[in-house]
């Protein structure tokens, strides 16, 4: 595994399966009375959030605390960034404080890459979402959720997602979740289909390792998992579709559409959901919807990533065992 986690495309199939297997062991800690492991005791992790986030930040914080790391939370609002400090100066400040790893979310695509490769700070960098680029831990927790639901917690150990059909629906253009998922699911052997109105597909999508369709109904019957993406109005500066009603009629998932999916198929959503827009309350509250499961799995997956990046000494050769 590489020293940083910047993009889901950096992970090989074996890296990804290793992370998912480790997450499976982390999940078992949730059942114990002492929900804490000593793996990162004495290490300091900084959560550097230049963009608003609730679940990702809390999820990382929970993962770090369960591994006994010391956690520093940094939100751009109310910090010296709002006074005009650059990423470089912030990074050098953290380096001077002896931070052992940085979890970064930034509205600019490429900020985590810059932080990891600039030499400003010598610590592993974990991308917690950058602009419309990547959100690798989200893709990992989604893959973990799919593997658990579609193959099984124990049966899935060591397995990838070969042969599974995953359909991503909605605002692909603004979605780093979609990009990361396409990369990771392709690495894990799944077939990915993107369904979106043409205006919400990025230029160059035909070069991605996936199929593209404009028609949701035809994609549903063969799907093992359907992932609904939120329409990111905060990133929209133009009219991408005529009305919200028209969007939800063509690309929203309601009970009638869900019935067209195979019986074992699951409905996923990275959150936050906009009920009535891309997903109806009936679907969101159904047994097949894995939204809260994804949140729980997010903590386990992030624990696995933190452990594998920080738990040992990456400079030592692999033990012969």
């Amino acid at each position: 595994m590489k020293r940083h986690l910047i993009s889901a495309a950096d992970l090989t199939r074996d890296d990804a399966v290793h992370i998912l297997d480790t997450a499976e062991e982390m999940a078992r800690v949730g059942d114990r009375t002492v929900k804490k492991l000593p793996a990162l005791r004495g290490r300091t992790v900084c959560n550097l959030f230049f963009e608003d986030s609730t679940r990702t930040r809390i999820s990382f914080e929970a993962a770090e605390k369960r591994l006994s790391a010391d956690v520093i939370n940094f939100a751009a609002k109310g910090s010296s960034v709002s006074k005009g400090e650059s990423l470089k100066d912030t990074a050098q400040t953290l380096a001077a404080m002896g931070v052992d790893a940085v979890v970064i979310r930034h509205s600019a695509s490429g900020a985590p890459y810059r932080l990891a490769t600039s030499g400003w700070i010598d610590a592993p960098v974990i991308n917690a979402g950058d602009g419309t680029h990547q959100h690798p831990t989200q893709a990992l927790l989604d893959a973990f959720t799919m593997r658990r639901r579609l193959i099984g917690p124990d049966a899935g150990l060591g397995q990838d997602l070969t042969g599974k059909h995953v359909t991503l629906v909605g605002d692909v253009l603004h979605s780093r979740v979609a990009r990361s998922n396409v990369d990771l699911l392709h690495t894990l052997g799944a077939h990915v289909t993107l369904v979106a109105p043409p205006t919400l597909l990025p230029v160059g999508v035909e070069t991605w390792p996936c199929e593209v369709s404009y028609d949701l109904d035809s994609a549903l019957p063969k799907a093992d998992a359907v992932m609904m993406l939120r329409v990111q109005r905060e990133r929209m500066n133009a009219a991408f579709f005529p009305t919200e009603r028209e969007y939800s009629r063509r690309y929203g998932l309601d009970g009638e559409r869900m019935a067209k999916m195979p019986d074992h198929a699951i409905v996923m959503h990275p959150g936050p959901m906009v009920r009535g827009m891309e997903i109806t309350a009936e679907v969101a509250d159904s047994e097949r919807c894995t939204v809260t499961e994804q949140v729980a799995n997010g903590v386990f997956t992030r624990m696995a990533v933190l452990y594998l990046l920080l738990g040992g000494n990456a400079n030592e050769p692999t033990p012969s065992q």
Partner: protein, 197 residues
């Protein structure tokens, strides 16, 4: 655990078997009897194996205990990876499974099972791991081979075989479940691997 890592390279022609399959079976039967005797019937015993080979040994001892007492003895596994004192010195290790039997370990007699007792550091890690899971009435230790050279004040309650070794030697336990055969091999480290872990 900590003795196995360098052994794969050292299993050359000079490795000789100090325990064969029959010996291992006999030794485990004796350990099972000793557990029943010491625990006065083994009523509250929980066996926890330390991965990888300790888990198989724990299961085998549990089967023998069932033959002797006629009751199912709870058996599980205890992964010590994240509690090891050399975690920081090596690249991240893969985690193994921790499986605690349904009724837990609170108030029970936990018997830890490992293949080789060497420095005692694995057992220390196991005791720490146990601490996060519950509070047993008592903890005992069963090992297939005690090869000496302790670095911590730890001893085993049940020993399959005491095997006096030098630090230049390696002890490798092979079990049918993992390696296809039952044997304990005593070998010599290659000169380059003189450093002990």
């Amino acid at each position: 655990m900590d003795t196995n890592s360098s052994a794969s390279a050292a299993q050359g022609a000079d490795a000789r078997a100090v325990l064969e399959a029959q010996d291992i079976a006999r030794v485990l039967t004796r350990i099972a009897h000793e557990i029943v005797e010491r625990a006065k019937g083994a009523e509250d015993v929980v066996l926890l194996g330390i991965p990888t080979r300790g888990v198989y040994l724990a299961r085998r001892i549990a089967d023998k205990l069932e033959e002797i007492t006629g009751r199912k003895i709870p058996v599980g596994s205890l992964d010590i990876t994240m509690y090891r004192d050399d975690l920081r010195l090596q690249p991240p290790r893969a985690l193994a499974r921790t499986e605690i039997p349904g009724d837990g370990i609170d108030g029970r007699l936990v018997v830890l099972v490992d293949d080789v007792l060497f420095s005692g550091r694995s057992v220390r890690a196991a005791l720490d791991a146990l601490n996060d899971i519950g509070r047993p009435r008592a903890v005992q230790l069963a090992v297939l081979v005690d090869r000496g050279h302790r670095e911590l004040p730890i001893r085993a309650d049940y020993v399959g075989k005491n095997l006096p070794t030098s630090l230049r030697e390696t002890v490798k336990v092979q079990l049918a479940e993992e390696d296809g055969r039952d044997t304990v091999l005593l070998g010599t480290k290659p000169a380059s691997q003189g450093q002990r872990q």
